[in-house]
Subunit: 270 residues, 2 copies
Amino acid sequence: MAGTDRTQASMTGGPRVVLVEPQLGENIGAVARAMLNCGLDRLSIVNPREEWPNPRAVTMASGATKVLDDAQLYDTVEDAVAGMTTVYATTARPREMTVRVVTPRQAGAEIRTAEARGERVGILFGPERSGLTNEHVVLADTVITVPLNPAYSSLNLAQAVLVVAYEWFTAEDVTDPDVISTPGTRLAEKEEMHDLFERLERELDAGGFFRAPDLRETVVRNLRAMLQRTRMTEQEVRTFHGIVSALTRSWQHTQNAKRRRGEWPEPDED
Amino acid sequence: MAGTDRTQASMTGGPRVVLVEPQLGENIGAVARAMLNCGLDRLSIVNPREEWPNPRAVTMASGATKVLDDAQLYDTVEDAVAGMTTVYATTARPREMTVRVVTPRQAGAEIRTAEARGERVGILFGPERSGLTNEHVVLADTVITVPLNPAYSSLNLAQAVLVVAYEWFTAEDVTDPDVISTPGTRLAEKEEMHDLFERLERELDAGGFFRAPDLRETVVRNLRAMLQRTRMTEQEVRTFHGIVSALTRSWQHTQNAKRRRGEWPEPDED
C-alpha cells in the first residue's frame, strides 16, 4: 500500500484494545488495521456476535492480519481486564454516574506514562450500535470521550479506535510539525541567495527594468522578500541563475535575428 | 446513533475536503460521515471512478447525507481549487520534491488561523490505492503527512480524512482534558470529608480496629489518603455515612442475637 515501508519492523506494545461484543467481522478487521497504523498490535475480543476467526475480518484488515491472529478471545469483560492494572472505557455519550472523563489526547499522554511505570493498560470499546453498558463502564478507572461535533458525534468502531490509538502514538511522536523537505539537496545559504539577487538586479538594470530610479530600492526590497519566501534550495538557486541566463540570451537572440534580417536592432542599452 | 444529539445545530464552514478520483462510493460516504463528525460539511469530488450520485455512498454516510447532497463535482483538480487561496495535499509517502510538510496538528492550527483571516482553504485527498500524483501535489502550498507506524502507514481514505478533520476540530476545542463528571451532584467539600473521616475513625476506635496505638496516626493518615483519592461527591459522603451506620448496626445485631440465644456476647468494647 502507498506509504507502507515493509522493511520497517512493526512497533509492538502499547495498550491492549478490548472490543466488547463487536457485531461485525468487517469492523474487527478495520480495527486491526487502525491499530497497526498507530503501532498497536494487542487485541482482545469479548463475546463477538459473529463466528471467530472471521474471514471478513481478514479481508478488511488488509495486511494487519497478525493483529487478528494474535487476538485473545474472552467470554466476559471481567476476564478480559483481569490482569490489567489500568483500564479506560470509551463512551460517546455522558453517563449518569460520577466518573473521571478524559480526552483521547490526555489519555494518550497518561497511558504512555503508565506504561513507562510498568502498568498493564487496556481500553474498552463497545458494540457498534449501542456502545458500552454502564455495567462495562464501571469496570474501568477512567472514561475516554472523543470531543466531536455535538450534533453528530457517533464514530464508527474503527474510527473511534483510530482516534484513541493515534493520540497514543502522537503522544511520543517526535515528527517535526513543520519542515521543508529537501530530498537530495539542502536549503540555500544566505550568501547564495544574495549572489543571486545581485546578479538578477544587475541584469534588470541592464534591461531597464527600474524605470523610476527613486523607487529602485523599494522594488528591489519587495522582489528579494518575494524570492526569500520560496526558501530556495541550493539546487533551485542554480536553476534560477540558469533562468536569468536564458532570458538574457533570448533577448540577444532576437536582436541578432533582427540584424540578420537587416532590421534596425533595438539599442543594446540606454 | 449513540452520542448524537439531533437537537444540536450542525457546525458549518471549515476547510473544503477535495477527494481526487475516489474509486469507491462507499468510501465517499464514509468520508462524509468522518467530516460531519468533526464539523466539516464542504466536500468536492474530482472525477470519481463510479457514477455520481452514488447510492452506496448514501448508505455509508449514515446520517451525513447532507454533506453528499451539497458536494461539488469537478473534472480537474485545477478547477476544484481555482477559487481557493490556501491548499494542502495529504500524502502518506515522502515525495521527490522540495515541499513544506506539516503534521495534521500543525495544519489544523494554521487552517483555523487562515480561516480567521478570511482565506479559502482546501485539503486534497488522493485515490484509495495510489494516493495523489506529484502533479496533484504541486497544486498545493503544503503537504500534510500523518505521523504513523512507519511499518504500516497507509490509512484508508475515510481514516485519513478523519485524522485531519479531527485535528482541525480539536485545534479550537475547549473540552476539559481531565474532569470528574458529577451528574446531579457536586464534589464533596473538605469539611464534609473531614467529618466523615472523624466519624469513621471514632467507630474504628470503638471496634478495636487500631490494635497498635503507636501506629494509629500512620494508619489513619493512609486511610484518609486512600479515601481522598476517590474524590467523593457530597452524595457519596452521605452514602458512606450510611455504610458505617449499617456496619456498626450489624455488629450490634449479631451481639443481640447471641444474647437471645443465651450465648456469651463479645465485650462491647475494650
